[in-house]
Subunit: 248 residues, 2 copies
Amino acid sequence: MWMSESIGCLAAKLSNYVQLTERDHAHLDILERETQTYQRHQEIVSAGEDLKYLYIVKEGWAYSYVDTRDGRRQIVKLHMPGDLIGFESLPSASVACSVRAASTLVLCPFVPTALNIIFSKAQRLAAILFAMSCRDQEMMVSRLRAIGRMDARERLIQMLLDTINQMRLTEPEISQPLVIPLSQTEIGDYVGLTNVHVSKTLIRLEREGLIARSDGYRVEIVNESAMERIVDYENNHRALDTSWFPEY
Amino acid sequence: MWMSESIGCLAAKLSNYVQLTERDHAHLDILERETQTYQRHQEIVSAGEDLKYLYIVKEGWAYSYVDTRDGRRQIVKLHMPGDLIGFESLPSASVACSVRAASTLVLCPFVPTALNIIFSKAQRLAAILFAMSCRDQEMMVSRLRAIGRMDARERLIQMLLDTINQMRLTEPEISQPLVIPLSQTEIGDYVGLTNVHVSKTLIRLEREGLIARSDGYRVEIVNESAMERIVDYENNHRALDTSWFPEY
DNA sequence: CGATTAGTTGATTAACTTCAAGTCCAGTGG
DNA sequence: CCACTGGACTTGAAGTTAATCAACTAATCG
């Protein structure tokens, strides 16, 4: 655990959207004071526990997931640097989704009561957090559409586009091929398919010339616009509307 | 359009969770000042439009949905009295989900800039709204699990349990049989199935003695605990943890 | 070097969709 | 009052998609 000298990860992501004041930065620093490192596949919290911490992703990827008793798993969200983890657990104070490291991972844990200060002393920041929570909902809508109404090929295309666009948030000129630290079983758990069918469908996408793969893990999105047309894609990650934010 | 004398619908629902102050009530009244009535199946907003209003449901049911160009539809949420509509559209200021009346419906529209006042003058209420948004996410997690990893029978069971528990929020001792103002096509769009398969599966649930149906629209949940066991159900709609709320 | 994990492949099976026909209304107009 | 219409639901047959099962390959790691 150490003080971060550089700008925080959440602050970095948020400043893509809004102009942050000194005061905002000061409050955000409170949230990003502590860090904790995890290994790939390490379980960070398990569903059902009492909620102790919320997290900001500093480095690496994590994912939230839910299980059924008989072993089926659904991955709910991917978390990349600057993302917030655990807000769906806030209302009931018990963990709604288990969280696991998808790669080597650095998180900044903070206690929910830290929000107290933000709501009372930094209302504009509170509004920003609210907006991020709403944006999460927007992404869940798109995932629901994909899983509920798309076939395997479309689901994987949607996932790849979501992923690259989420990566671009922290690295706008991202270089291909992408390294996606998820096994095909995990990809299947994300899009609601089996690992076998993911394998077959990725091979199909490769034959169609939409993607290229190398080394087993690297994926290149070869024909992004064709893929966007197939799933009628729209990128959610645009600027924030701040017209309803409070002034200081 | 008329002033409401009685307690607002949102206020009524929130007071199931938290003790609202005079001040909270005053601010909530601002949001519930106007009302607008719609007929069953009437379109209230369409995806892609500029966001003009957020809504609170006063009476009746609505649902949010998304379409694909080729006509597939996914219903995202059901909205019942006291629910908030449209928060997923807030970040981008453009409507993310179309909204339609499922029954005769009364809504209270309010402009997003009204949130400005709540965040700056009623921080505790802002925290409550934030908590409601997080709770929405929690429900989306459960829907994602259902649609991504359950078969038709389990999905319908999950939907029925979600529905009755959501109804209990405003009417704790709800009387069966329930009247669910959704066609089987709409139910299918909600759970990611065709109307044909919904029909067959409901008949199966009826034969199994889990539900009973009458009049075409009425559904009775005959064996709720058995249904809860089948889908490993847990009811999200419990008390709110308010320990992180700001004081006034 | 065996042991484990991730991915691929093919055969079989199960679940769900599609298509098409038919029933049972409630509403409409002659 | 009755024929006509359209919507919602049901039913059965046929077709498709994805799951399951099982065997095999390649890579990694002690």
